[in-house]
């Protein structure tokens, strides 16, 4: 009887269940980040990986295509992570962008930002094509995922990509962010990452604020604000150009 009451309450309050569930995942990720990786891998990246793993588990258990939200009790996850709230929250992050601060990054920051969007996109799209995703929509979505794990799904949803392709684009972006977090201290010397200007170039090129902040923090904490300054614009810029100019160019090259 108690079990039935609980399951009923969870089902009728699906969105609240999702908040509680995701909160739990975030808490667990923060703990894992702190104690397992000594803060080197950002909690948000771990949380997204857990999300993908849970989607895998949900898919196996239910045989459905919508990951965890195919489980009736967790259907609220579908609403919480759906296109509407996702776009809403992503747009909100732009509110912290200060036009005056943007000018500080200057020309070199802008060049790094543009290059940091084009380069990953090309690499990602080529990798997609190499693995048989040769249609313009899939190539664009996975290429956008290589820019950041936000640009990927935003682009995929905008141009109508398949959920499996969107999952690939998220995974590519998260994997990239984790590589940046872990790898930065090791290559810092080689790429001259010891001054504010290079840190700004680095932020613009690598993207993902979480990856850049964690990577720079592990290299030299004083460089973090410079890297974050340019990295902040990465997702916005990517969301602007990937589902528009980039998609149209890919379409021109490979057809539909």
């Amino acid at each position: 009887m108690i079990a039935e009451a609980i399951s009923h309450a969870l089902r009728v309050n699906a969105l609240l269940t999702a908040f509680a569930f995701v909160g739990l995942v975030m808490w667990l990720s923060a703990a894992l980040s702190k104690y397992l990786t000594m803060g080197r891998v950002h909690g948000s990246a771990i949380a997204i990986m857990i999300g993908l793993a849970l989607a895998f588990w949900g898919g196996i258990v239910t045989g459905g295509k919508s990951g965890l939200s195919d489980i009736p009790m967790l259907s609220g996850i579908g609403l919480m992570g759906g296109a509407m709230l996702r776009d809403f929250a992503i747009v909100a992050t732009a509110f912290e962008v200060d036009v005056e601060k943007a000018k500080k990054a200057g020309l070199i920051g802008a060049v790094a930002l543009v290059l940091g969007t084009i380069l990953p996109f090309i690499v990602g799209a080529l990798a997609a094509a190499a693995y048989g995703y040769t249609d313009a929509v899939s190539m664009t979505t996975i290429g956008a995922g290589a820019v950041t794990y936000i640009v990927g799904p935003v682009t995929g949803a905008a141009i109508g990509a398949d959920s499996a392709v969107i999952a690939l684009s998220i995974a590519t972006g998260v994997f990239k962010a984790v590589l940046v977090m872990i790898g930065t201290p090791f290559v810092a010397g080689m790429i001259g990452l010891n001054n504010p200007r290079t840190a700004m170039v680095f932020g613009g090129l690598m993207g993902t604020v979480s990856g850049v902040s964690a990577g720079l923090a592990a290299t030299d904490r004083r460089l973090v604000p410079y890297g974050a300054l340019t990295a902040t614009f990465h997702t916005g810029f990517g969301c602007l150009v990937a589902p528009s100019i980039f998609y149209l160019i890919v379409r021109l090259i490979v057809g539909n």
Binding site: I48, A158, M206
Partner: protein, 147 residues
């Protein structure tokens, strides 16, 4: 009032969505062309306007800020919704794409930082400004110089 912030955000997002759809129709593609990016530009412009007219208050900041803070949890929920089972079948593409991307970007950072000539390092800046004070192990855990 907080709702003004949420409403501002909603209006910007909706405008972006409409404009993105219109752009898609004009270009003849069945897609929302850059809607989220356009919405972000509207929001930045909106904030700029509010700041200039001194209308940006805590309520508005709270209304938008809450949703901005909610973005990672929403992305986690989004990740949990995807068809990962089908994605896994595509093999090591994710790893290859990510590794190649990171290597290409590291190389580009090195290239740009060399091309643009030498600049003062963080240590030199601090030495010049006389702010180089003894610090207990800069907390990075990777054993960089302890000053």
């Amino acid at each position: 009032m907080t709702i003004f912030g949420v409403a501002l955000l909603a209006i910007c997002t909706l405008f972006g969505a409409v404009l993105g759809d219109l752009l898609g129709m004009m270009l003849g593609v069945k897609a929302n062309v850059g809607g989220v990016g356009l919405a972000m530009i509207f929001l930045i412009a909106g904030r700029h306007c509010l700041v200039r007219r001194k209308l940006l208050n805590e309520g508005i900041k709270l209304g938008v800020g809450f949703w901005a803070a909610f973005y990672i949890p929403i992305v986690v929920a989004m990740a949990a919704n995807q068809n990962v089972v089908a994605a896994v079948e595509s093999g090591p593409m994710v790893a290859i794409a990510a590794i190649a991307t990171v290597l290409a970007c590291f190389a580009a950072v090195a290239l740009i930082s060399r091309m643009s000539g030498r600049t003062e390092t963080m240590d030199e800046i601090e030495a010049r400004e006389g702010t180089l004070t003894p610090k207990v192990a800069q907390q990075d855990g990777l054993g960089s110089v302890v000053r």
